[in-house]
Amino acid sequence: MRTLAVAGRVLTQIRRDHRTLAMLLVVPGLLITLLWWMFQDLPGATFDRFGPGLLAIFPFMVMFLVTSVTTLRERSSGTLERLLSMPMGKLDFLLGYALAFGAIAAVQSAIAVGVSVGLLGLDVNGPVWLLGVVAIVDAVLGTALGLFVSAFAATEFQAVQFMPLVVVPQILLCGLFVARENLPGVLEVISAALPLSYAVDAMQELVGRADESAVWADVGVVVAFALAGLALGAATLRRRTA
């Protein structure tokens, strides 16, 4: 009940902010189109090589950014403290956010996948709806991590600084630029510990061999990371502070 109240409130806030709404829903689709356009004159199916990875990366990146700033705002404006002094459970709070951003992610990935497969001709061997599932799970991962890092920022300025710290290394090591098995040993090990690697794996799998059990295994890993992120986030929600 309270979970729904939080989710409803977050959605109302986002809906009121048209620019953020546009960034969340429309920009990933636009960026993928830009990427497709970039590769237009190159031989080979380069879009097919990079497209799936981006379908995994964009939801993660966008949700991480929006969540880290939004939850930081809750902390700094005092509303979080107020909520925790009320009958609001930490889990209700977290699940409310996850639900709201998950719903937005569903629309976002529908648009991005629709554009990629329908308009831009991305060749997918696996079921298209599974692409959407991976994108949504990815977005929830971004939400969970964004919530967690917001505990370590005092201002919105500090919150966005986590982007280059948490998101960009994952983009570099996830297998998009260099296949993971071709990375130097240490980097390969590190990339195996980063959740985005598995999301990109899942997307590339779906487009390529389409071994569904491998996809679900990767999705499972991302879900586990997301749950761990939520648990860590819960630990940073303190009722009593100094």
Partner: protein, 242 residues
């Protein structure tokens, strides 16, 4: 005897390396109790400890016979922070609707709408219900924050400087509201650093440097001094001499 709504025993709180509250013991019953003292004397810290959001070094705080911050108390204690803690990107009524749902205000028979209407009317924001809080003036934002604390009809109200920045008419109306609530049997603890608000309280607690330096009715504390401010200065100077 359960006469004491708030019972504090030997409370010690350390904040930012300094002793914010030193060995504070007090009892508060129903009625309007004023907590007066200069900025930085520990009023907010004391209120946070009562509401249960303050990390406490030692000492006991009990509200309505239960430890401060315990679950059963969370919908029975209304709390207003010094800085308005409401969502700037939601309207007044959207804010109230959200917090009312968190508090579990009964929805049947339009109870939720009634509670929201009553809260808005009590703080005289009737014409601003659908205004986004971020567009309101400072005083209006404070009143919106106060309206949230009134939801759910709490038995205890802890109000941290609710009259700051308000004109005399509004202040008079708010104090009338506090007394109306107290007449209905609630305990209202109001803090202020404006000494002339002291006369409006049933009982006064004067604070300085983390200690309670006077406790009684305004008449008792004033004694033969000109006014409360004078009495306060006499006490402080008396301590300096002693």
């Amino acid at each position: 005897m359960m006469n004491n709504v708030i019972a504090i025993q030997d409370l010690h709180v350390v904040r930012g390396g300094r002793e914010a509250l030193r060995s504070v013991s007090l009892d508060v019953g129903p009625g309007v109790t004023g907590l007066l003292g200069p900025s930085g004397c520990g009023k907010s810290t004391l209120m946070r400890a009562i509401v249960g959001v303050q990390i406490v070094r030692s000492g006991g705080v009990e509200i309505l016979g239960r430890p401060a911050g315990s679950k059963p108390l969370r919908d029975r204690v209304g709390y207003v922070t010094q800085a308005a803690s409401v969502y700037d990107d939601l309207s007044v009524s959207e804010n109230l609707r959200f917090f009312a749902r968190v508090l579990g205000v009964q929805r049947i028979d339009g109870g939720l709408d009634r509670a929201i209407d009553e809260a808005i009317t009590a703080v005289d924001l009737d014409g601003y219900r659908d205004q986004v809080v971020g567009n309101l003036s400072g005083g209006q934002r404070s009143r919106a924050s106060l309206a949230v604390a009134l939801l759910g009809d709490p038995e205890v109200l802890i109000l941290d400087e609710p009259t700051v920045g308000l004109d005399p008419v509004l202040r008079r109306d708010l104090w009338a509201l506090f007394h109306r609530l107290a007449d209905a049997g609630k305990a209202v603890l109001v803090s202020s650093h404006v000494m002339d608000e002291a006369e409006r309280c049933d009982r006064l607690l004067l604070m300085r440097d983390g200690r309670i330096i006077a406790d009684g009715t305004p008449a008792e504390i004033r004694g033969d001094a000109r006014d409360i401010e004078d009495a306060f200065l006499r006490i402080v100077e008396g301590e300096a001499v002693a």
